[in-house]
């Protein structure tokens, strides 16, 4: 774990991590600051108190939930570092480093069946309800009461775009060129998503730009859902950034949902050890944050992002300890097989894999990087009434749509990874096709 780019003095701050002063770069997610400072364990899991460290860095897992300035269960990967920020780990006693409740994990190696445990055993059953209640839950109540939030901002537009990655951006480009007004919502501080921050891909579009004349782009704006009321449908979102969080409602007759995908976890033994990272988390660390999370990582997975990640890590100075293609049709010459088990106490130290029926290998490594196709973000499309289909070859639910991204829900289009992720170039293509169809619709 090291910083590839030193923190400039003017951006250098310290955050308070359970009484320890940790150096950070102003504005970077505190999960990154802690990682860069060598802190692997940021939380303890809810039931077995297993140690956890950052995994997806995209607010789509639970591994980095911390108490931040007295507020429980915040994603440390989404909290910008600033001087004096108070960070505490949760759900552990006496400390997250040595948590006595981790004994539950060891005492129940086969898992703890909450349905059958002590069911009907007279006294034990009642004691269990009491004990379980006290063990349950993650954080403690927040310290303070927030100030009253501002009423929502409401925007009206012919086309609302959710997501400013390759698909959303390419669509915005087409709409701009055709003079069709739109509102684009992006959770991050900048547009581009995976195209900018994911594993580099051969054939990815060189540039994507949004013409400012037609559209409104809102950064730091997280989509919550596609709702409706008496006046029609709208995207509900929360805008954060520098100001206090505030609801934003975008009313539109047509929607393009390009919310990408979520990090997939491979189900191998101890796959939740600190040091197991989603591939896009690693590319984000290297490309955006200037942090190299491992010197000798095992890179496993399949699809176009596997090669890109290996290249990115190698270029950054790492020496992958293992590259394993776990897909159904591995590339020629690649080592293929499946992952069996991660090893290590408190963090990854080795990985066991099966490379042929009889051959098992245990490889020393300081991280495991899962380069897997993302699982499509189908949720908001389904809110609107779109259907999904399970694609066995990818192992994911993809949103059902025609060639233009048109779904079963009237006026709702989908583009990019939500259709079953492949490459940034294909995501951009699907965004352009959907936008062209939208231009025709608006004109008609």
């Amino acid at each position: 774990m090291r910083r590839l780019v030193p923190v400039p003095t003017e951006a250098s701050v310290s955050v308070d991590f359970e009484g320890e002063s940790v150096p950070a770069r102003q504005g970077e997610p505190v999960a990154v600051s802690l990682l860069a400072a060598g802190h692997a364990v940021l939380s303890r899991s809810i039931k077995y108190h297993r140690p956890r460290g950052p995994f997806c860095l995209a607010a789509a897992c639970s591994h980095c939930l911390m108490r931040v300035d007295g507020t429980p269960n915040l994603y440390a990967c989404q909290v910008p570092a600033r001087a004096g920020l108070q960070l505490q780990r949760q759900n552990s006693y006496p400390s997250a480093k040595v948590d006595v409740f981790h004994a539950i994990d060891w005492l129940f190696p086969g898992g703890l069946d909450h349905h059958a445990m002590f069911a009907g055993v007279p006294v034990a059953e009642r004691v269990m309800v009491k004990v379980a209640r006290h063990l349950a839950g993650l954080g403690l109540l927040p310290d303070g009461v927030p100030p009253q939030r501002q009423p929502p901002e409401v925007l009206q537009t012919p086309v609302a775009i959710a997501g400013g990655g390759a698909a959303g951006l390419a669509a915005a480009e087409v709409l701009s060129a055709a003079g069709v007004p739109f509102v684009l919502l992006e959770r991050e501080e900048a547009l581009g998503g995976r195209w900018r921050l994911g594993p580099p891909e051969a054939g990815a579009p060189a540039t994507l730009t949004v013409g400012a004349q037609a559209g409104t782009v809102r950064l730091h704006t997280t989509v919550l859902g596609l709702y409706s009321d008496g006046r029609g449908r709208f995207l509900a979102a929360v805008a954060t950034g520098r100001d206090a969080p505030r609801l934003l409602l975008v009313r539109a007759p047509r929607f393009l949902l390009a919310l990408g995908g979520h990090a997939q976890l491979l189900p191998f033994i101890d796959n939740d050890l600190p040091g197991v990272f989603a591939g896009r988390a690693v590319s984000d660390l290297v490309r955006r944050r200037g942090v190299l999370p491992a010197e000798a990582p095992a890179v496993v997975g399949h699809g176009p992002e596997l090669r890109g990640l290996v290249q990115l890590l190698t270029d950054a100075g790492a020496r992958p300890a293992l590259v394993l293609d776990t897909g159904p049709s591995p590339e020629a010459g690649a080592l293929s097989g499946r992952v069996l088990e991660a090893h290590g106490r408190g963090r990854v130290q080795a990985l066991s894999v099966e490379v042929s029926r009889r051959t098992k290998k245990k490889v020393s490594c300081d991280a495991v990087v899962l380069a897997l196709p993302p699982t499509p973000a189908y949720e908001v499309a389904c809110h609107a009434g779109a259907h999904t289909v399970f694609r066995p070859e990818l192992g994911v639910f993809a949103v059902q749509a025609d060639a233009d991204g048109r779904t079963a829900a009237e006026g709702v289009y989908v583009a990019g990874d939500a259709l079953g992720g492949t490459t940034a170039a294909l995501a951009a293509d699907s965004g352009r096709r959907a936008a062209r169809a939208l231009v025709r619709e608006v004109a008609a």
Binding site: F118, V129, Q148, S228, L247
Partner: protein, 495 residues
């Protein structure tokens, strides 16, 4: 260690998922409920597809039957304080909400083999009522029973309620039923081998208006006469129970410490398992398409998997009961009304009782898992079989909740959903024989509290059906009361 995690948020392992599939849970919604996967802070973002991959490998599961669970808004954990700032037009009726309600069962999940050609009893509805009745009938030796459920178990109101259990009611009949239900709930795990996590933290009813305060006082006296030790508390005394409450404008409170909350889902699995073990057929994903009349009786129940000739039909379809009764030409006065509900991030225990403000219909409790689970009635909610979720509800609920408990302002909502109350004109159930159609038995109209009443009602009903001895419950709450009898109104309805 040595665990392969599928859902790290809730610590659900690959073994847990494979175990649930081996137990016969072959649809993602059921696996979600049985294992708890996808119910944590990420709401299934990192685990749903892994579960689908495991299910898709299971012999006998068709690819078309691998479907995702209904994604519940919001997509990201959202602060209650932010939602409370939504400006809601109280004069406007709520919209149907999202996702759009798909009433028809999914054909791909429907079992291929036909239903049995005949049975003594066909129970329409595999919710808590129907399953508890099947269990009680089977226990009494009546095992030639088929339960028909159009969806997965827990799909209806039985799987969508807040799990509240209380003895504080406004009528003698409901107080006695609830008392018996709590007794049965205490024995449930022993008899069924599955935990239901009854936690008796009490119910704390708050009253703002004079009329509601008087109602609570009047009802407390009635409770005391029936051995239910409800106390009337001053706002200060109520604050001792929940120190974080503001108790703004609250006149008084009623508290009964033996009320509580349970975990609803295992009830259904427990009853279903017990009934099946004794020979009852519980048929899920099976839709009733017709009721065949012959003279003054029902001769058969028609389904999308064939016809079942039978002696007795029990209508236990909750909010869908009027629709099903219509198939036999019977008009029921019940009306479905949506009630929305939500759940927050899990917090360490701080809230003992379930708190309800009767003036607005707000209620909230802390589940065994630590989430704040709560809802609130909407006076503008029209009648109808809607189960969608609205932003309006999030706004109204968040405002009402943070007004009573401001410390929850920064607590985040993880998911929202809705279910239907099955509302009758007097807020009491419809039980017993159907006038003019003697072998159609009614078991509906529980107005949002069927879950807690089911153990006791099903026990009485099975006894009445098997023994043939008269029971006041089935004449007092007979359908005929709406045309000829006198109505006794239940006034302790939340929402």
């Amino acid at each position: 260690m040595s665990k392969a995690l599928v859902c790290p948020c809730e610590d659900v392992t690959l073994d847990d998922v494979e175990g649930a599939i081996a137990k016969g849970f072959h649809d993602v919604e059921s696996i979600k409920r049985y294992t708890g996967f996808g119910t944590g802070i990420c709401q299934g973002k990192s685990c749903l597809n892994t579960v689908a991959q495991v299910l898709a490998r299971t012999p006998g599961v068709a690819p078309a039957a691998v479907l995702p669970f209904t994604p519940r808004p919001p997509l990201e954990p959202t602060e209650l304080g932010v939602l409370a700032a939504l400006q809601v037009d109280e004069a406007e009726a709520p919209s149907p909400g999202v996702p759009p309600f798909l009433g028809a069962p999914v054909a791909a999940l429907r079992p291929e083999e036909p239903v049995p050609a005949r049975a003594d009893v066909v129970i329409i509805g595999g919710g808590i009522m129907g399953l508890a009745l099947a269990h009680n009938l089977a226990k009494r030796g009546c095992t030639d029973v088929v339960v028909l459920e159009k969806d997965y178990l827990c799909a209806g109101a039985s799987g969508r309620n807040g799990g509240g259990v209380r003895m504080q009611w406004g009528t003698e009949a409901n107080i006695e039923l609830a008392k018996r239900s709590v007794e049965l709930m205490k024995q449930f795990a022993g008899e069924m081998g599955i935990n239901i996590w009854l936690r008796q933290g009490g119910y704390l009813f708050l009253a703002k208006s004079q009329a509601i305060a008087e109602r609570l006082e009047r009802n407390a006296k009635l409770h005391n006469r029936h051995g239910v030790r409800t106390e009337i508390l001053s706002p200060e005394a109520a604050r001792e129970l929940v120190p974080q409450l503001t108790l703004k404008d609250v006149a008084l409170a009623a508290y009964h410490p033996e009320d509580g909350v349970i975990f609803p889902w295992p009830f259904l699995w427990g009853y279903a398992h017990s009934a099946r073990k004794r020979g009852v057929r519980v048929e899920t994903f099976t839709h009733v398409t017709g009721l065949l009349r012959s003279g003054g009786r029902l001769a058969a129940v028609q389904t999308d998997r064939g016809e079942i000739a039978c002696q007795t039909v029990v209508l236990a379809s909750g909010a869908w009961s009027p629709q099903v009764a219509q198939l036999a030409g019977v008009a029921l006065p019940n009306q479905p009304h949506r009630h929305e509900i939500l759940s927050t991030e899990p917090l360490k225990p701080f809230l003992g009782p379930l708190v309800s403000l009767l003036d607005s219909g707000l209620y909230f409790s802390q589940s065994m898992r630590g989430e704040i689970v709560g809802g609130m009635g909407d006076p503008r909610e029209p009648a109808g079989l809607e189960q969608g979720s609205t932003l309006r509800f999030l706004g109204r609920f968040a405002r009402a909740l943070t007004e009573q408990l401001p410390v929850l302002g920064k607590v985040k909502v993880l998911r929202q959903w809705a279910g239907c109350y099955d509302v009758t004109p007097d807020n009491n159930p419809i039980l017993g024989r159907t006038p003019g159609l003697e072998n159609l038995l009614q078991m509906s109209g529980f107005v949002g509290h069927g879950f807690m009443m089911a153990p006791a009602v099903a026990e009485r009903m099975a006894e009445w059906m098997v023994s043939g001895q008269a029971d006041d419950l089935f004449s007092r709450f007979n359908l005929a009361r709406f045309s000829s009898g006198t109505l006794e109104r239940e006034d302790m309805i939340i929402g």
